[in-house]
Symmetry: none
Subunit: 203 residues, 4 copies
Amino acid sequence: MNERSLIIVVIMHSKRNLILRAAEKIISTGGIQGLSMQQVANEAGVAAGTIYRYFKDKNELILELRKDVLSQVAAAILQDHQIGTLEERFKRIWMKMHEYGKQASPTNLSYEQYAHLPESNTEEIRALEMKLFEPLHRLFEEGLEQGVIQPLHPRALYAIAMEPSMAMARAIRRGLIQYDQKDITLACDLCWRAILIPTTPTN
Amino acid sequence: MNERSLIIVVIMHSKRNLILRAAEKIISTGGIQGLSMQQVANEAGVAAGTIYRYFKDKNELILELRKDVLSQVAAAILQDHQIGTLEERFKRIWMKMHEYGKQASPTNLSYEQYAHLPESNTEEIRALEMKLFEPLHRLFEEGLEQGVIQPLHPRALYAIAMEPSMAMARAIRRGLIQYDQKDITLACDLCWRAILIPTTPTN
Amino acid sequence: MNERSLIIVVIMHSKRNLILRAAEKIISTGGIQGLSMQQVANEAGVAAGTIYRYFKDKNELILELRKDVLSQVAAAILQDHQIGTLEERFKRIWMKMHEYGKQASPTNLSYEQYAHLPESNTEEIRALEMKLFEPLHRLFEEGLEQGVIQPLHPRALYAIAMEPSMAMARAIRRGLIQYDQKDITLACDLCWRAILIPTTPTN
Amino acid sequence: MNERSLIIVVIMHSKRNLILRAAEKIISTGGIQGLSMQQVANEAGVAAGTIYRYFKDKNELILELRKDVLSQVAAAILQDHQIGTLEERFKRIWMKMHEYGKQASPTNLSYEQYAHLPESNTEEIRALEMKLFEPLHRLFEEGLEQGVIQPLHPRALYAIAMEPSMAMARAIRRGLIQYDQKDITLACDLCWRAILIPTTPTN
DNA sequence: GATGAATGAGACTTCATTCAT
DNA sequence: GATGAATGAAGTCTCATTCAT
């Protein structure tokens, strides 16, 4: 790739990205229903027609945004995921997920909008989700192989130990709970121990 | 209230309810975006204009439906909530929530659509939620007073111990986990013990 | 049908017809390309959305207009078609077609727009055309059975004897030929004799 | 003109022609309504902006194409038009017109799209048409001068004797008549005799 | 109270045309 | 000369809402 074509790709990506970020922002504020192509155009500072150079139609824009947001979330949550013991790895992910979920950033807010959509275009999204969060599944599977984690399906383990992280973050973000670091640490620990097989104390 | 006006109220309520049920069904299928007043009218078997005799506008219809659905969910989950020990009460609620969340009923499916909406009309909804789920909060508070439950905000306890119930139900409904009664019982038990303060074994 | 429902049907037809006539007028002026739904609405004196109560979309509007116009043309041309000898019947149709084609009426002008469209929705139109112009085909077939007309496919006979009627009308309408009744009579007679099998004069 | 500028002109003409042929092809397939500048550019293998170096705007492109197509049609139909007797000349033109009209070539198909357009830009087109088909008019005029052809305006003669050629070709192309060479020859002969002044047989 | 035809604002999308490169 | 990204006006169509019956 020569310099010229590199510049073209960068510009193209920057405009495509501009549009995605605009859509993300609007969704984070007004929900998916509140997303109009004209608004996206205004927010992105481009003409309405320009969006259609980068996305076939509104559906594709939303789908691509979902994929983009999912990737961002996964990257933030799974940063440094492979360092340390099982427990350290679990707690790092739990805490990062919590930190991330607490933010009122466009990315996080728009992320929540997608979570419970009626099942549409889900095949592609689900496959991407699987791929992106694979390290997390592997974490549970390692625990299962080592016999230290309760014998449940990784998704069930996720539901029990990880969902609370997001749920608490949401509650904090919405001002329903006062934020206190000590409580978070405790909650994280409780979640970890919830799926551990207890070791009988030797006396 | 005389007999005649009673009948009128009943009929009125039945038509109002017809419309709510129609809206619920449509939302459960196509999401909130897929809700058009004409569709609601068709599904309810009334004229489009009739809806406006019972609801000021579409927003109010959706708001009223949210409240209606929330009440139904609460009633289903909190049935017999006051019977038994703390543990029995917790587990009964957990299981009922799980059973409810597993269904693909219009009420449950439409319920999920509301959960993560952008914050709008939320004050009224939040107050209702508080009121309806008060027994659940009381359960946690009793446990806290008795010193058997981890010292966390009731909402945090809810996040840790109850959210997994819904999360698993969702995963099962979507076919991501195979359903196995033994696993559910285990998960329920893990959730309960997660928030318990462990009793030091006496020897 | 009671009086009330009759009125409803009449009103409905009148509005539907209003829209068709508006579309016809616009097409006669600016061609099919020049037809915008907003224009039709303006011309018909209704709101744009109203058109969609009577026609699914623009395609259907155009298709229905084609059918409507075709019916009008056929009715005008085949008026009294069954009276008299073969020759009289032929010449009456020829002359009526000519008279009709000479007009600059919206119906006639829009009719011409459809004649040479790229083949689309043609199945339904073709069937209707067959049905409406059946008397004309029968005329040729009778002539063939009686052995007085040249042994050609009715469509070929139509092309030879009838198309000139429309073609001349067009030329007159466009001001390319001066209109002279004697010439028309001659042309009509030439067309009729063109497809006749000449009778050998006995001496 | 030196060699270099000659090359430039040739190249320029070739690109201009490329664009015309692309437009012709698209119109033949999807009608004039289906013609978008982007499509023309794609089909011609040039950038959209390039079209505007050769044609002021879309209208001019269409106008130029009409003129171009008209010239092609005239050239095809009037090939060798001056050879032979009146009858031979007439029949040669009739048959060539028929052969040409039967084809589903882009040129012929797009030609039909123009024939019945609402009257716009017609002055220029009409003048060109006059000039191109002058030999055909002359043929009729010669016949009139010689007193062998019916005393009608050349356009009327054209309508009576030539339009059937195109009309039959169209019917054959569209599959409405089975093609049979003998019938064509008969039709051609009938058309010729239709405008002839019959010679009283001497006995 | 109920109806549903009508409205018209606003949504999505296309496409002729321009212009910086 | 050529490119094609960008523009934005204009088109089609939907739908919440009103109102005469």
